[in-house]
Amino acid sequence: MDIFIQQTVNAISLGGVYALLALGLAIVFSIVRLINFAHGEIMTVGGYGVFAAITFGMGIPGAIAIGIAFSIMAAVAMERVAFRPMQGASIVSLLITSFAVSEILKVLFQNGISARPKPIPMPLQLSGTWEVGGYTVGVIATISIVITFVALIGLTLFLRRTTTGIAMRAAAEDFAMVRHLGLRAGRVVAAAFALSGLLAGVAAIIWTANRGSVDPLMGFFPVLKAFIATVLGGLGSLSGAVAGGFIVGAIEVFSQAFLPDTLAPYRDAIVLTAVILILLVRPDGLIPPVKTDRS
């Protein structure tokens, strides 16, 4: 039972990271119709931000602030430099552009910083375990869960209470109509990227705290999982992205914990098979988005 509780905490913690990344992908996709393959690098930039802040002795709060700020700046800069000039391009051209951005950034990290992982010394009290309700669980895993849920609640409030948030929800449904109400298209898009960067920054902090290091490929694999989560949840659907993130995280953790060792190499294959089975039953994803398509 103890193991099961611990693994559930791990599953929610990992799923939370996937959910945050999947949300960033979904927000940008729902508004710009861009599948941003460079989203992982936004997360990596956040990781290097955490590394820099810790290295310069800024402490944990400083590391959190710098990590998130780096990710937001990376996302906004990416939109300005790479995607805004491609306005009106087909979904395939945008996808290829994002691949290029991703590759360029990875090479820059490898040559400009280091191809090897940079260790991030974490305070000892974070790496241990503590007792919650009689069960022993990891400190970082529990903090991750709290941070994830604070981020999700904050995002929900932002999307419901602020005009920019409402504009983003409206733009996901009918972007052209938002412009016909006099709202600047560029601002809505920039806000979407900034928000996706913020969520990737939160994910980067949780990820680096769990792993204690940052490397040029740090963002690649979690974002790959987040892509699966967005497709599973329904591409462009925000609640779907969250649900998909937690499901992918849960399948991954539980298959690792409870499958016999001989099946361990097939873990990703098992996750993907489960996803394919769900998509066979629900081809538009678990929670498809509201979208009125107009020429």
Binding site: T163, I166, A167, R169, M177, V290
Partner: protein
């Protein structure tokens, strides 16, 4: 000078020549209606004014200023509101959120609030449904919301595309009386409609399009029951 002047407007979609040199002057404080069969170019004309369609040649001027290089959001800022075909309310947003979003163009938050109250006074059903998702409203209620949403920008010219389409007869009456009220308040209306008799009954000027060209243009009295209107609908 007219409020809106459309001059020799040509619009092409690839090989399709949707508008072939259309002229129209809309005077301030009037209702102008654009009639014609499906595919005659009515919506194209309206969406060109709204900034959603680029034109190949000719010009559209609002208060003397060319709209040629203006983005849709700039055109709204300039004073032209759009109540589009199919209403296009944001179905996932509540009625209140639809209006709040439309009010964002007002720099003064107090003014946006006053306008919202004014809309609830004008369309009491929207006040009743304020917290409901717009997707749950009936077609007529959605049309009221689309009009209210466009009015939140306090436009001087309101573009309306088929506002009575698919509505119950009683709702059609309401829509046409709303349009007349707007004119009384000094808002100029450019109206695309399939309900020819009702539109001609309230309009000050009518433009009849047939496959992208002007078939007739003038005050309704010169057109009603006329050969040109019939011709426009039969040649489509």
């Amino acid at each position: 000078m007219s409020l809106l002047e459309i001059e020799a407007l040509h619009v092409r979609y690839g090989p399709v020549h949707a508008l072939k040199g259309v002229d129209l002057s809309v005077d301030a404080g009037t209702i102008s209606t654009v009639l014609g069969a499906n595919g005659a170019g009515k919506t194209t004309l309206l969406m060109a004014v709204a900034g959603a369609r680029r034109w190949a040649s000719g010009d559209i001027r609002f208060e003397g200023q060319s709209l040629a290089k203006m983005a849709p959001e700039d055109i709204v800022q300039a004073g032209i509101g759009l109540c589009p075909e199919g209403r296009r309310v944001f179905t996932a947003l509540t009625v209140a959120e639809n209006l709040q979003l439309a009010g964002a163009i007002q720099r003064d938050a107090g003014r946006a609030k006053r306008l919202t109250d004014e809309m609830y006074g004008r369309f009491p059903i929207l006040a009743e449904r304020a917290g409901q998702r717009a997707g749950l409203l009936s077609g007529g209620e959605q049309q009221m919301l689309a009009v209210a949403r466009a009015l939140m920008a306090t436009p001087r010219l309101l573009l309306m595309d088929e506002p009575s389409l698919g509505l119950a007869p009683q709702m059609v009456d309401t829509v046409f009386s709303v349009i007349k009220t707007l004119r009384e308040e000094g808002i100029t209306v450019l109206l695309v409609e399939q309900n020819v008799p009702r539109s001609l009954a309230i309009a000050d000027h009518a433009l009849v399009l047939a496959t992208g060209s002007t078939a007739a243009s003038g005050p309704p009295s010169s057109l009603e029951g006329g050969e040109l209107v019939r011709a426009a609908y039969l040649t489509a």
